[in-house]
Each structure stands twice: as structure tokens, then as C-alpha cells.
């Protein structure tokens, strides 16, 4: 089951980029059967680079995905199509999983962004990317 989810997600994330001052791929990974109250700590531990002190911020997933679409220049078809894939990703997550969360680890120019969701078998999947913000 785990492989199926990751395989399917990997295919969906192929060619998808998180656009900021740079562009970053999105990578799925399994966090296993993680209790909900351990999620924040797990995310902070996994995605905070060594010798960094970052602050974990939780975003409203609907706002996060909507902002990607809203920020896309309508005259730039490549960016518009990329944003549309984020909408598809959000729809897929809502249809196939629950408890969707979006985290940002803020404090440096490179900001890890992690989307998590809980699949029916109890497995938490994290999709990680980053934003460059100077």
C-alpha cells in the first residue's frame, strides 16, 4: 500500500515545481503510522537543517493552494499550468486522504515547505519542497 501511494504521488509530482525566487521539485516520503500529536515535532526534526533554528508555521491548506493559483501570471502559460497541477494535487489529497496540513519552517532564505496528509491505512505521507525568499 505504501509503495502504491508513493508511486502514484511521485507520478503526480513529476514536472511539478514550487515557484519562488527559484523553483523546487516536490518529493513524497512516508512518515509511517505517526500519531497526530507527534507530527509537528517530526516535521521540525526531519526538515530543519543542522545548525539552523527555524520556526514551524502551520498554514491553512486551502489558502496555501489558492495562493499558488492566485500568484500565477495569467499571461505566463507555463506558470499557469504548473499552478493548475497544484490544484489537482490538492483535489487528489482531499479525495484520498484526510487531515491535510501545510507547514513552513521559517527563519532563513530557504524555507522548507511540507504538506502532510493521512491515508486510510493510517500512514502519514509528507510532500516536501522549499521556497526561496530573500
Amino acid at each position: 500500500m505504501e509503495n502504491q501511494i508513493l508511486t502514484e504521488l511521485s507520478a503526480r509530482l513529476q514536472g511539478l515545481w514550487y515557484m519562488s525566487e527559484s523553483e523546487a521539485p516536490l518529493t513524497p516520503q512516508s512518515l509511517g503510522n505517526l500519531p497526530k500529536d507527534q507530527l509537528d515535532e517530526k516535521i521540525t526534526g526531519l526538515f530543519t537543517p543542522e545548525s539552523s533554528s527555524l520556526t514551524l508555521n502551520k498554514l491553512d491548506p486551502a489558502v496555501f493552494f489558492n495562493d499558488i493559483v492566485a500568484a500565477a501570471d495569467p499571461a505566463d502559460q507555463i506558470i499557469v499550468q504548473n499552478a493548475a497541477k497544484f490544484t489537482e494535487l490538492y483535489a487528489y489529497l482531499k479525495n484520498n486522504s484526510t487531515d491535510i496540513n501545510v507547514f513552513r519552517l521559517e527563519g532563513e532564505s530557504n524555507i522548507p515547505i511540507i504538506i502532510t496528509s493521512l491515508f486510510p491505512d493510517g500512514e502519514v505521507i509528507a510532500i516536501s519542497t522549499y521556497s526561496i525568499e530573500t
Binding site: S22, D67, A71, I79
Partner: protein, 295 residues
């Protein structure tokens, strides 16, 4: 005879009209801001606190100068190069009221205010290039309103910047500049780039991106004039005013400490051919241009 005089008079008037139109075209800043809101400090670009108070370094002008095209926007002023697809320089002013709590808008977009027929660099023009969309006027310097922040994401404010230059060295300098403002200073900043060929995350030397439409600069520079917050700024700038001039190579192996790259304004003038701080008295200009910051 009368007819000849009349003809001469008409011709002379025509010449005067044509000349004045040309002059207006060259000297009248193009009010091509895509945004309508006015910031407190940028209503008049050349007035006190104006983005162009310290002068027009390259004599940028109208559409007849496609590679030195003056764009007077509400939140910064720039000289744009059509053929390079980047600004030559961007000039702006920062005071405490420019720094607020507005979130980044992240709306990188083409600048539709460019003259008709000019190529408009897109957000996706930089995709996969190995170079960041490097702000000249940073997002973080315009956080007082959504409009002011959104203005910094126009692609006419961007240059292809090596990731470590943008994310480390330049970011550190930008943060330091804002820390001066937060501590009670106001600053005038001019940032630009020149040359061709940089090294991004893909390695090697890249001369252009976007199928040759955007030139990758070899150097990125910045000049910062620091004053205690106040008014009548031109009269308060003296030979002892702090000026920070930095010239960095556009490479990914750059030192993260911007202080390593401090230089004099004169050296940047030599490299670019521009004339900085031209609004200041000659003696003050001369003194400031020789200085190399060491604080």
C-alpha cells in the same frame, strides 16, 4: 519678403515644437507603474525621500533609449535594458514606514508597462536556468502594503542571480540594510548589474537564459547611502556620510560575507560608466566616491 519671413517663422516654430516633444520624450519619466497606490516616500522620485533623489546614474530617458529606458514606478525607479532583459540599475529609498508586516505576495509577473513590441520577460523565463529571480529592489524593503510588495515582483526588477549570491551574500546585505533603517536611519539604495556571464547552480559559465533574451550579468553591485532619519536629505549628505558600495561576482562559489566585496563608488563608476550621486555638490560627491566602507 514678408512671405519669406512668414515661412521662416513657421519653420522655426515647427522646429521648436519638435524639439520640445523630443526633450519631453527623453526627460519626462515614463509614469508606467502598473500600480496606482502611492507610497508616502515616492510620490516625487526626485523630491526629498524620492527614489531618484541622488540622481539618474546613466542619464536614462524615453523610448528612444531602449537600453537605458527610464521607468519611474511608485515604489522604485529603474533604467531598463530591452536587449539585456534586465534593469541596468534600480534606485529606491527606504525609511521606517516602508517596513511593515505585509506578507510576500510572490506574484512574479511580466511588466506589461514596457513599450509596445518589447519582449516581456516572464516568470518562466528563468525556469531551469540555474539562476534565481534576483530582486534588485527586494521584497523585504517594501512591506508596508500589498501594492508596494507586489511591485517588487515585476520581472523588470529582476536579474538572473547565482543562488548563493542571492540567498546568502545579497540576502545578508539586504537584511543588514533593513536593520539600519529599523535602528533609526533612512537609506538611499542603487542596485544594478553589468557584464555578461555568471555561474549558477548548473555550473559552467552561462551568458544568457530564455533563448538569449535575458543576459546573465557577471557582476552585481549596490550602493547604499545611510542617513539619520530626517528631512531635507540632500543638504544633510556630507563628505562624512556613510556610503556602502559593494560589487560581487555573479557566481555560486561566492563568499557569504558581503563585507568581502566592499569597494568604492568610484570603482563601480569605472566598471559601469555611470555617474552616481550626481545631485550632490561636486566636493561631496568626490569625497564620497573615494570612500570604502569599513564599519
Amino acid at each position: 519678403m514678408n512671405r519669406t519671413i512668414k515661412q521662416f517663422y513657421v519653420m522655426a516654430m515647427l522646429c521648436l515644437v519638435i524639439a520640445s516633444c523630443k526633450k519631453e520624450n527623453q526627460l519626462q519619466p515614463a509614469d508606467n507603474s502598473a500600480l496606482s497606490s502611492k507610497s508616502l516616500n515616492a510620490v516625487n522620485a526626485t523630491g526629498d525621500d524620492g527614489n531618484l533623489l541622488l540622481g539618474n546614474p546613466s542619464g536614462a530617458g524615453g523610448v528612444s533609449l531602449p537600453n537605458n529606458y527610464l521607468m519611474t514606478k511608485t515604489y522604485y525607479t529603474l533604467s531598463y535594458s530591452r536587449d539585456r532583459g534586465t534593469p541596468n540599475w534600480v534606485s529606491w529609498h527606504i525609511q521606517a514606514s516602508d517596513l511593515g508586516s505585509t506578507s510576500r505576495t510572490d506574484g512574479f509577473r511580466a511588466d506589461t508597462s514596457l513599450p509596445s513590441g518589447w519582449y516581456q520577460v516572464q516568470n518562466s523565463s528563468y525556469t531551469g536556468s540555474g539562476f534565481d529571480r534576483g530582486h534588485n529592489c527586494p521584497s523585504g524593503d517594501r512591506t508596508a502594503s500589498t501594492d508596494s510588495n507586489a511591485a517588487t515582483f515585476l520581472m523588470t526588477n529582476m536579474m538572473p542571480q547565482a543562488p548563493n549570491n542571492n540567498q546568502q551574500t545579497w540576502a545578508n546585505l539586504e537584511n543588514y540594510t533593513r536593520s539600519l533603517v529599523k535602528a533609526g536611519s533612512e537609506v538611499y539604495v542603487i542596485c544594478g548589474s553589468y557584464g555578461q556571464g555568471g555561474t549558477g547552480s548548473l555550473g559552467g559559465t552561462t551568458k544568457t537564459i530564455d533563448n538569449g533574451k535575458v543576459t546573465v550579468p557577471s557582476n552585481i553591485w549596490k550602493i547604499i547611502v545611510v542617513l539619520a532619519d530626517g528631512s531635507n536629505d540632500l543638504s544633510r549628505i556630507t563628505a562624512s556620510t556613510r556610503v556602502i558600495a559593494v560589487n560581487t561576482p555573479n557566481i555560486n562559489s561566492i563568499n557569504t560575507d558581503w563585507k568581502t566585496y566592499r569597494t568604492s563608488v568610484k570603482n563601480i563608476e569605472t566598471a559601469t560608466g555611470y555617474n552616481f550621486l550626481s545631485s550632490l555638490p561636486t566636493a561631496v560627491q568626490t569625497a564620497l566616491k573615494q570612500k570604502v566602507d569599513n564599519l
